[in-house]
Structures are given as structure tokens and as C-alpha cells.
Amino acid sequence: MTLWQEIKEGTVISFAALRANKLRSGLTTLGIVIGIVTVTLMATAIQGLNSAFRASISSMGSDTLYIHRFSWFNDSHAEWLKAFRRPYITLDQIEALSQQATLIKAITPFSDCRLPVTYKNRTSKSVTVLGCNEQFVNIAGNTVAEGRFFNAAEASGGRPVCTIGSGIATNLFPNISPIGKKIRVGGSTVEIVGIMSQQGNFLGAFSLDNQVIVPMRYYTLAFQHVSDYEIHIRVASMEQIEDSKEEIRGILRKIRHVPAGVEDNFAINQQEMFISTFNRIGGIIASAGLFITGLSLFVGGIGIMNIMFVSVAERTKEIGIRKAIGAKRRTILMQFLTEAAGICLFAGLLGLAIAFPLTLVIRQFLPATLSLPIVGLAVGVSLFTGVVSGFLPAWRAARMNPVDALRND
């Protein structure tokens, strides 16, 4: 008898056995049902958290590099101290880089500070003021909603013009169009030439719409003479991102006079780092959550094991008969394993049916749906639980001596 035949035969037998003990089977499945419901909900919530994060992170653009003295994520305080001692990146270095780099689409220096912004009698106390060049609009994952971005001539001329975020526009100009109006930023006056479209906030931390963007030349003149500049670069193509990084690294090392064999005194950051860090932390949360919910499945599994022991005991004679007429150990083992797996599979499907409406509730808070992989996971986990918890009872059945089993009444 092949394994496949044994499973098929086992399925037929277990269906008959389950039908014969409806109430008992139903009660036994309860533990597994609850376990599967919690596991499914937990997995759905984790997935929802993931996609919420991804939606947030997409504002960074996957083909964008962020170069700074500091790496976004430091593994230790010592590493942070080392980065702290690195020399600033200067505007001249950025200029040289933009001359020499070939595998890039756009490049801008980047610096920001927080200043109050006033129009007539209305004031926003703390606004992010960004200094950059005209290419910024091609790098940030954002577009101009109204008016225009400042142009190359205004950037190189250091003109007092700005593009404002949609938040500033609605706060300071509730009724009129801000284009052409002059606002006071810190102690200087700049003219609004355009409004960016709404972007929302970044990981719930700060608003990307509460910004005033000015030409870097004007920024250094009016707000910060020397600052710790960053470089934002959009690479020529996503496929070549590694080549671009290598090229930029080589040029920067040369410009910043890093001797061979000494590590970089700058860091090339990208969206991926956020994702991998999130994945690491998210992974820990997910495994802890799934472990805790897994405990309820474990309890359910013990219930299954218990009931399978009862089932084996009360069918001792049947086992004896089957063995007498030629059932091998494996055949009996498979029969009871199939039965345990069948109970758990049924419980798993029932659990999914209960979990589905509950995921719709979660959906109110997170972009979560009961996805196919989660359904697969739930089915797989329930089958696995069945096989594991059914094994010991099935093994006992398989090892029974036919003479003793037949004598049992």
C-alpha cells in the first residue's frame, strides 16, 4: 500500500470517525479554532503595520541616495562618535561631485533649520526651512501643485524666492492665493513662487507639508552661513544604483582626501536602510507576537492529542482487526495522523471563517487584509499542529500487538 493510498484511505476513515463523534470533535476543535483566529489576526495586523510603514517610506524614493557625515543607523555609540568627528561636507565638495558624477539624474545640497514664518498678522512658529537647488523637485517624491519651483538662475543667483509646503499655504493664506506674496522667514523676506502638493507626514513623526524651500545660496546668506550639509542624489537608474553608489563613493573619497585603506568619512544612506531596520525590529515584534499567539495553538494541540489518545483507546479492537488482516504499522500510523490532521484542518478553516470579519475591523486602523499567504499560513499551521499532536497517539496505535488489541472489548 503506497503512502498516497494510505492517506486517501485514512481520510475516508477519519471522516466516518468524526461524523460518529460530532460533539466531541466539535469541542476538541475549539482550542485550535481560537489558536488559528489569534494567529491569523496577529499575522494580518503585522502585515498591516508593514504596509503602513511602506506607504510612509515611499516618500523617500527607492532610487534616492542621502549622503551625510552620519549614517542613519548606528550600531553603537562609538560609531556615532566616530561619525561626529568627521569633517563637514562643504558646498564646494558638493559642487565638485556634481561636476564629476555621471551616473546620476539629479543632485542637490541640502540643509534645514526651524524658523518662525509670518505673513501679515499670521505666524507659524516652527517651520522647516530647507536650502537646496532647483533639482530638489526632481529628487523629493513630490510635485508642484501651484505656481512653479524656483529655477536654476534663481538658485545660482541666490534670489530671495521660495516654494512653500501645502501646510504653510493653508495656514498663512486661508482665503487668498499665496503666489507672489512676500513672507518673513526668520529675519528675512522672501517671495513665494510656488506651492508643493500635499504629502502627509513621515512615519507619523513630522509633517512634510510644513516647509519653506529656498535656494541654497540664499539659505547660507540669510539663515546659516556654515552648516552640516547633506547631499540628496537621484541615481540615473534603479538597476545601476550600486554602480552609482560606487562612483559617488570614489569621487567623494578623492574630493575629501580619504587615503587608501582608510574608511569613508561620510555615509551613503538610502530608503533600503530604513526598510531593513524596520524589518529587523518588525521581525522581533512579529516573532514575539506570533510566539504568544502560538501558545494558544499549543494548548489546542494538547487538546487534540488528548482526544486522539481517547480515540485510539476506544478503537483498540478496530486496530486489532485491521492489523490481523494485514495493516502495517505505517498504515495505522497514517490513519490516525490523517484523522488528527483532518480535525485540525477543519478547525483551521473554521478559524479563518471567524477571523475574516475580524480583519475587516482591524482594517479601520491599519491597511490590513486577510491575504492569501496568511490563509496559507493558517492552513499550514493547523495541519502541522494536527500532525504533531496526533503523532504520539498514532504511534501508540501503530505499535499495538494484534493479539492483545483483538482481545480488547
Binding site: E9, A16, K317, A324, I325, G326
Partner: protein, 238 residues
Amino acid sequence: MALIQLTKISRRYVMGSETIHALREVDVSISRGEYVAIMGPSGSGKSTLMNLLGCLDTPSSGEFLLNGSNVSHMDDNQLAELRNREIGFVFQSFHLLPRSDALHNVELPLIYSGMTPSLRRQRALDVLAHVGLGDRVHHKPNEMSGGQRQRVAIARALVNNPSILLADEPTGNLDSRTGDEIMVLFEELWRKGNTIILVTHEEVVARHARRIIRLRDGLIASDEPSPGASALQAVEHP
């Protein structure tokens, strides 16, 4: 060569500190086509002998050759395969699967031997018709009389064309009329060439066999042709 050859077979059971000698160096030889009854009071070792002959158990010492293969040292799975192929069991209390219909009960040995569904179904139906239950194939055991149940059990025993039909008190749970019918069926099967071993403590039943082996205290007390066989034969088949 004998179909069954037992040489100095012993079977001991250890019960706590005591060792029970159920069989003591028994020699038995049974040829193909024989109709043998094994008799003896309880405790004589007859059940032990039946378990050994049915390959449900292995001897503590001695050699058991069945159809040329040595059973004495086989493991669980080899014994299961051997039982499936060589032995057809008929038990006193029928031992049918209560939730399965007659057809499925009879099919079971064929399922374990790995026969394809269509073939085994046909074979099971044929054998059921042969024992006179062609119109009862979808009845479950509790929907049948004792005699019918025993016929299902006999059909199940025959379905794999075993070398030996091993019947343990086959009429023990039947009234005498039904019991007689079952014995007539055995007689018929024997005449068709089946080897039958009957384990019983009833003299009347044993007389249907052509040879009677009597056990006492784990030893063979006598082994001789059945006294009633010729007389019975004269009555039933004049």
C-alpha cells in the same frame, strides 16, 4: 512439502515473576488442502497455537515454516504482509468494522494489499455473492443477522485467496441452525481446495474436520483422523 511445518515450537509468557509455558516443544505438520480441527480445554494452549498459526504472534523458540518462509523471526511489518497474503481469519465474534458496510469490510484486505479500487470492488462483490450475500453488500454489520455477519467475515477471509482459512470458534456466537449452515459453507470451501484450520472446544464442530489435533497443557495429546468425518460425509454427501 508441508504447507505448515512447526518444529519444537514453544511459547512462554512472563507474568510478573512467573513464566507460563503455553506451548512446550510442539511439532505439527499440515499439508495443503487439509481440514484440521484443533481442540482442547481452556488453558491447553490452543489459542496460543492459533495465534502462532495466524502469524499474529511469534514463538519463543522453535521453527515455523509457512509456505516455505520462516515466520519465527519476522518483524511486525513482515508478519502483517504475511497475514494479508496467506491467512484468512474467521473469528468467533466476527470482528467486522461496525461503521463500514459489508462491501468495505470485505474490501479491506485488498486495500491493504494495494489492489486498485475497481479491481478490488469487483473481487469483493464476487466473494460476497459466493457466500450468498450478493444482495446485502451495502448493509452494515448491525443491520445483519449473526449468520450473515459471519458470512461477511468468511468472505473477507477468502477475498485474498489465502493459503489457510483460520477459524476460531466460528459458530460460537451463532444458534445451532445457523452454525450448521456456516459449517456446510466451510465444507464446501474445503472441497474447493481451501486449507481450513478450525479452533474449537466443541466436539460436534470439530467432527466436521478430517483430522483432529487435541492439546493438553501445552502438549499434543492426540493427532488422529476425525471419527465422525466419514459418517458425516456419508450423511451429507451420499
